[in-house]
Symmetry: C2
Subunit: 332 residues, 2 copies
Amino acid sequence: MRQAGRYLPEYREIRKTRSLAEICETPELACEAAMQPIRRFDLDAAILFSDLLVPVRALGAEFEIVEGRGPVVARPIRDRDAVRSLKPPSDPRSLDFAFEAVRLLAGALAASGRRVPVIGFAGAPFTIASYLIEGGATRDFLQTRSLMHHDPVAFADLMQRLSDLVIQYVEGQVRAGAQAIQIFDSWAGCLSPSDYKRHVLEPTRRIFAAGGRMGVPMIHFGTTTSGLLELMAFCGGDVQSVDWRIPLSAARARCPGRAVQGNLDPAALLAPQPVLERMIDEVLAEAGSEPGHIFNLGHGVLPGTPVDNVALLIRSVREKSRRPVSETERQS
Amino acid sequence: MRQAGRYLPEYREIRKTRSLAEICETPELACEAAMQPIRRFDLDAAILFSDLLVPVRALGAEFEIVEGRGPVVARPIRDRDAVRSLKPPSDPRSLDFAFEAVRLLAGALAASGRRVPVIGFAGAPFTIASYLIEGGATRDFLQTRSLMHHDPVAFADLMQRLSDLVIQYVEGQVRAGAQAIQIFDSWAGCLSPSDYKRHVLEPTRRIFAAGGRMGVPMIHFGTTTSGLLELMAFCGGDVQSVDWRIPLSAARARCPGRAVQGNLDPAALLAPQPVLERMIDEVLAEAGSEPGHIFNLGHGVLPGTPVDNVALLIRSVREKSRRPVSETERQS
């Protein structure tokens, strides 16, 4: 749901003078935006404040983030030549701003005296590719699937380049102090299991393998992925994140050996508080008493969410369980 | 995907002078639009040409179908008073145009000498409610879930009224000659299993119970419902339709005692023909050799789909299996 810090008045205050891209690309601002919910709430983790497309500038792709529309790519990548014209991500310094943001955030958290780790943030190759190909948000992902089906070689080339970029991006964040990484494949759920297996699984698996080599836990996020869970788990993350469209008990049964993250419907935070409480109870009941559940929303905090309801959620989960609560409302 | 007859040139010809609503509400035109694909292709069934919102005029709700946007409701229903101001569906003659269209279609099919049955068409209460509440197409269904959570009594009242209307609509179609009914809950997949169970299951189950009393097979359609399949099957349909986001083998295992319908990705029809053939093969392989599979798309035919690819699909499925092919591209 894009940069969901907007439910906080102190975040909206920054946004009065700074664009979303500016906040992501200015380490001090990104650190401040990531710290804001940590100061307000008793959360178990902070996540790098970023946007899915942020690292693609290192490939020479240009985009803007347009209020109410999300990322808009200047020249959508729709054929082999466009893929080939991307620069190799040869200069890792072009991503330094993000690594510096992680470093500042880790420092700020240490200085706060709270034992709150930093989760690094990166889009998965498919979701980044879908923005680059479509040129912006879409409902049907037809251009993406068209390139995949009409020129699978070009599509694989793009996925490989993005996979290389994401690995470099993730490695830099870990070196800068990220203690876990969340990979956002927000839109992989538009795909059939067959397309996922053929075109997405391998380049995604490479990223989780790289994370494994670095020894940090990796969280694999997606939405409308109830039919893809086995394939996503096969990519090798430690934690499978699921949206609210599946009972958590079913998700746990289908991802053996993995922890699960989720899966409160973000719309619950717009409900009256007794309904919100009931929906929290239902998630906890579905999660069961076994370890290996990270309580979280199934997708980002929605615009218009009352801050009081976020506070209630965190207090309530704290009271009702000893499970960790992670603050990861920044996926696109 | 709204009125997907638009992939046929002869349908676009009608649309030059007639609106979508006009076609749905004029029996001769609705019959003609339903017959067009039957004349071109070797299909096993014809479906009433309609739109999800068509019957709500009987409740006094007014809407237009706007090109490229879908249905737009004049006064969205967002509170208890708006629900209560709906008329009871007391005058069944207000739906006569649809029953007459079924009658004409059954007659035209009989006259054609082909043994092709008519499938009746109706939206499920939740999907109709979501249009009435949102006022049009939406991505997040926030108004719908807001009414559900803030005033569950008003929401239940709306669902009950729509359920009554749909039962009346379905009964009239069966009396007019429909030999099966497909209930389109196109957007139920936005819900958590918990919300589905609490707010949607019972009013939907009533419709399938009514269909059962009439002795016609009932098909239950939805998209992004991979996490809801058990609950949807519990509503009592004979056939569970699934989209392409789940392997058909998994869907079959989770709906024991039900046939399944699906689940080719409509984007397959935009792919090069060898890729389309491969995707058809994959669906057939996942379906397995047991009876109880109706080959179909997972959602409507997409704009821009080449007619030749539709022809190839039908020929190919015919050659590769003895399974029936149903032509149901008219959901919203």
